[in-house]
Symmetry: C2
Subunit: 176 residues, 2 copies
Amino acid sequence: MRTTLELGQEIGYANLSMEAVAARAGASKQTIYRRWSSKGALLLDSLLSLNEPLDYPDTGDLAADLRTQIHAAVDLLGAPPYGPLFYALVGEAQHDRRVAASLNERFIAPQQDKTVARLRAARDQGQLSPGFDLDLAMAILSGPLYFRLLITQEPLTHEYVDRVLDALLAGMMPRP
Amino acid sequence: MRTTLELGQEIGYANLSMEAVAARAGASKQTIYRRWSSKGALLLDSLLSLNEPLDYPDTGDLAADLRTQIHAAVDLLGAPPYGPLFYALVGEAQHDRRVAASLNERFIAPQQDKTVARLRAARDQGQLSPGFDLDLAMAILSGPLYFRLLITQEPLTHEYVDRVLDALLAGMMPRP
């Protein structure tokens, strides 16, 4: 996995092949394929070796705590090796359903568990609307980030995610 | 473009090559490349040949009108040829920045203009929070759909987008 990270940074993860990783590691292609069934599987293990799912602080201020966590996520995604590796992985997931399934099970789901736990605590403290649909938390909080990463492909900034958080917290309907 | 749509439906857009399109159309590869610089450019023109940007009705009820428009988008994305073609295009945009730029300019931006116009009318009618950040409209309204399409890869349904809309309209903070 260290070889994958090194080589990916040199030549770009999109250009990385299992053959090239094997050659750099001084291993046979068979050895690599025995451990990782696809390039996507290798990229995912490499990504997960870099970081645990990001924790949310619980200072009792939901908006501040969401902001802290999402800034940390933006900082990770904005720098190598994490960012380029993550984009390459999402790219692989678009044409390899097993990669998509592993990405969800091993990366998205643990992050979702932490998000839902923090939101549930906020609900108990009266800081989250009792009607807010916790099953949608990841889609609503991270969807606008993926839109920017994958569709408009503009840089993710703290300023952008702050504006998104403000809009999501306030909602679109006027408040009395 | 009709050849692209036909062949894509037969063999899958991910497997489509410029060579195969040329062969099926009885044209030379050069002829195809003269008109479309890449597979992504060809897919985008084919997509745009299928549909105009979806209009929003204006019945005076913002929530109902957003629902109508987003259901139409879900129906388009849920069926061939539009759906598979759109996924393939987003896939191409991940490793071809010119495709990403054209997709934004020719597909996302016109849709955004319609969305912002409808939201501005709603604001004038007091149905949209005066503080809602119109520049974020596309990211917030369509981000959760892209999250489901590209990350969890679960089917987009009317039921899902209805729940998303309800959550976005109400916001995460409790209302008095």
